[in-house]
Symmetry: C2
Subunit: 200 residues, 2 copies
């Protein structure tokens, strides 16, 4: 039992450090050596727990990246309350509240989508799965908003959902090119106006 705890702890440590390095320097630029240097463990420890770099990449996507999107963008959509208000709150507030570090490094998911999203089918599938979850939750909320009469009945839930997600991921990338938030402020203004148009 003590052994299992130790194993779980080590695996979690490796995943956490791997996520940070992938986020800061990219997936391809991060070596197994660099990850294990961060954990203060050896390469032997890594290959005892994971079978390849691809393996840890998939673990990071499904455990860390997905968790981040679920907690930051999906679960908040499922709360009770006015559907329109929830969308505004989640999209606008999340963008406003990113740390400097997060703004500088962009969206971990979007970074991976653009760096390795079309290189290997397994990465593609793991990342697509996150987008699908997000898209589905947002579509459901918009449907609810139409039903509860806080969102216009004429809008297409699918269309609004993918349009919102695309815009959000897009600005997260573009912001990486700047040293200030001007571009985010303009974006927020555009987003607010857009949301006004789907409001009932």
């Amino acid at each position: 039992m003590q052994q299992e705890l130790k194993s779980d702890f080590t695996k979690q440590l490796i995943i956490d450090k791997a996520f940070s390095l992938f986020y800061e320097n990219g997936f391809k630029s991060t070596s197994i050596d660099a990850i294990m240097r961060e954990t203060s463990l050896s390469k032997g420890a890594f290959y005892h727990h994971y079978k390849s770099k691809k393996d840890i990449g998939l673990e990071v996507i499904s455990l860390k990246v997905e968790k981040r999107v679920v907690e930051g963008m999906i679960l908040p959509l499922m709360k009770k309350g006015n559907a329109y208000d929830i969308i505004v709150k989640v999209f606008i507030n999340r963008l406003k509240e990113f740390s400097f570090y997060d703004k500088q490094h962009g969206c971990p998911m979007n970074n991976l989508i653009n760096e390795i999203g079309n290189t290997e089918a397994v990465y593609q599938k793991a990342l697509r799965n996150i987008i699908e979850q997000w898209k589905y939750a947002l579509e459901q909320l918009i449907e609810r908003g139409k039903y509860e009469n806080s969102i216009k009945k004429e809008v297409s839930s699918k269309a609004v959902a993918i349009y919102l997600i695309s815009a959000f991921e897009g600005i997260r990338g573009i912001r990486k090119l700047y040293d200030n938030d001007v571009v985010i402020e303009d974006f927020l203004s555009g987003l607010s106006s857009y949301l006004e148009q789907i409001r009932v």
Copy 2:
């Protein structure tokens, strides 16, 4: 004179092959050896014309990537005609007309933004420069549309411009995760509705 032509030809060949490989496999995953294998020339030829990988990266950005965005998304905005119609045409049509290859590999600029946009100041600047040109041209066109009464006077040109660009780049990344165009069709529906809202 013959020598200069030869030199120019070789440099262009290297840039073209480098662009294709960066686009298909990413910047970091593309080696100088791989580029020169494509040109059927030697490494010596590469280092005769360029001083480093960073050097060719910047050349590809400012000559190939920028050209692509300018020709595909910026110059078409500057044509004569109804401003609103031009925006619809450029954004909708361009997205519809991408080849399978282009849809699969995403936007070369967006790929680079997310892969190396925050690693080196020189890359950041070169890529930011393209975004700024695009943003400026779009803002100008929206202003013209307001003046000519094809676009609502209440909208913020800056806000609409960055919102449109973000959404466009965002969907180009997300599309990489899929094997079909469903996500693009939904996006186009969302984009059309959005544009309807800024129409006078």
